[in-house]
Symmetry: C2
Subunit: 330 residues, 2 copies
């Protein structure tokens, strides 16, 4: 026979006190004399009692659960963020519910509906939507949200992201200063805030150096490795001696092509890529990289959503971190 899980009334009965006292002992919401507290704690232990979280959540309206809505947790970048969010939240007594949207609008909407309907106390989201207007209907007014990595246009409120503009510009300017003039660019798809900045960085570096934009050196990739390979091929044919690749997955494909045709990075061509957290093997190569402080971003986002939950009056905060440019490999 499997005995029923003990409830607060059982504890109260055993300890000879009221359920209110038991509750207060557990939550520390009221002073309870040393003596009775001891009794209650003993009963709790004896009955192996733990409160019914559902009942508590129902009553208090707090669930101590935060939703993380990510476009692709298979991507090392978002996985790293996931890990760090989980870690930070657990420090604050929160747990993490994960929704993987796979860059799909419907999945994102479903996730938002779900999380805001009473599952989570707050949400950290790297949205696939480019405009806030599209997601706003699914976020109840005042619901704690922190946008991470990407910032949908028109959004006002808490957000944490990394500005890559300066780092990209520095990297390209650096190439120019070293005498490279035919600098290719493999762009990533989308008009996400995170990718638009890289565009600006590349363009502005050239502009400031007085180098005209050459459309033949700008390739539009689709964020997949194969596409990086193909774009690199075209750029090599177009005679570039340096290239900036806006996405690490494409960089893998691009470097694969360079490898195939015997071009050595750092000698025959310069490569600047977003730094990835996946291919440690690149360490040895002379790839220049732009690193986003993913962990710190995640940590801040987690802290921010907790603060928002605990103090809804707080004004919205926009936190911007800076990417760093590494010239000497990864």
């Amino acid at each position: 026979m499997q005995r029923m899980k003990a409830k607060i009334t059982d504890v109260a009965k055993m300890a000879g006190v009221s359920i209110a006292t038991v509750s207060h002992v557990m939550n520390g919401t009221r002073y309870v004399s040393e003596n009775t507290r001891k009794k209650v704690e003993k009963a709790i232990k004896a009955l192996d009692y733990s409160p019914n979280i559902s009942a508590r959540s129902f009553k208090t309206g707090r669930r101590n659960l935060i939703g993380y809505v990510a476009p692709d947790i298979g991507n090392r970048f978002f996985a790293l963020i996931l890990e760090e969010i989980e870690d930070t939240l657990s420090l604050h007594g929160y747990n993490l519910v994960v929704v993987n949207t796979r860059e799909d609008y419907d999945r994102e909407i479903a996730g938002l509906k779900l999380l805001t309907s009473g599952i989570a106390d707050g949400i950290i989201i790297a949205s696939t939507f480019q405009n806030y207007a599209e997601m706003q209907p699914y976020l109840p007014a005042g619901f704690p949200v922190v946008q991470i990595d990407r910032l949908p246009a028109g959004y006002v409120g808490d957000s944490v992201r990394v500005s890559t503009f300066a780092a990209v510009k520095a990297a390209v300017s650096d190439l120019i200063a070293e005498g490279y003039t035919r600098i290719g660019y493999i762009a990533s798809i989308g008009r996400l805030s995170s990718t638009v900045e890289r565009d600006r960085g590349y363009r502005q570096a050239l502009e400031e150096a007085g180098i005209p934009l050459d459309p033949d050196l700008i390739m539009q990739g689709d964020a997949r490795s194969r596409s990086g390979y193909d774009c690199m091929k075209k750029l090599v044919d177009a005679g570039v001696n340096a290239v900036f690749i806006s996405n690490s997955v494409m960089a893998s494909g691009a470097m694969s092509y360079l490898d195939n045709c015997g071009m050595q990075i750092g000698r025959d061509i310069q490569v600047v890529s977003m730094r990835d957290y996946e291919w440690h093997r690149f360490q040895k190569e002379a790839v220049r990289t732009i690193e986003q402080p993913a962990k710190e971003m995640a940590r801040l986002a987690a802290q921010q959503v907790v603060e928002r939950i605990e103090n809804p009056q707080l004004p919205g905060r926009e936190t911007i971190l800076r990417a760093t440019y590494h010239k000497d490999g990864m």
Copy 2:
């Protein structure tokens, strides 16, 4: 002014029916005439009503949340499993709560306590505990649990794991057949079921070929890259011409050493490693690998926990998948 979120009574009032009818319309738990259903649905839409999940969970005891307790979600292997579990669960209407234990016993216990106290309907766990007895106290009898990847000794119940014994043995036997006799082995730490099998595979292959075990060729690593590097160094000094590395992280370090001293894999030395999902770059190298069907394992575990929840009477199932040996690189 921010108006209150609508509740079931508001919907009932607006539609001119009882709250019971509204509930039945939402859950399809009883036939409701076309006419009244329409009215209710209209009211739901008009009020933008969605049920309070906490209240529902509290009442029904179901939360539609599954816990995933993993030792290291920063590890690509467990991240991949996480991704696939999330995907499969969402198909069945469940969401995922993640607990990252970082191979820490206390964190695992805390996670189990939490998840079983009313957060989750079931758990999928890759436990750090080697003996089930150590974790059993934190799992209420009858609580739906599926052990994944690792099988604590003494556990009887649902589990999904990959047997690497045959593949490891095949790989080592293959090396022997090709004439390699000084085959090193870099072991991973711990007595986890998953690592013990690799041990057995290596030993048995040698035994069957009549090759005596040479303790000098067996290195005990600590599952970190640095350790792989050091062990490899010793093995090279000991004059191995082939090596089996029980852990992909250590393999990275080991190969790094081989690289450093100019040894080419496939020519100067043969390397068999657990196949990793991280270093795609290895593809080009002549590394032989042993692949675990992580995704399938995850999918099955997710299905299994759902089935267990929906049918608690089901007998426990132990699902064993087979790792595959790839001779021709990754």
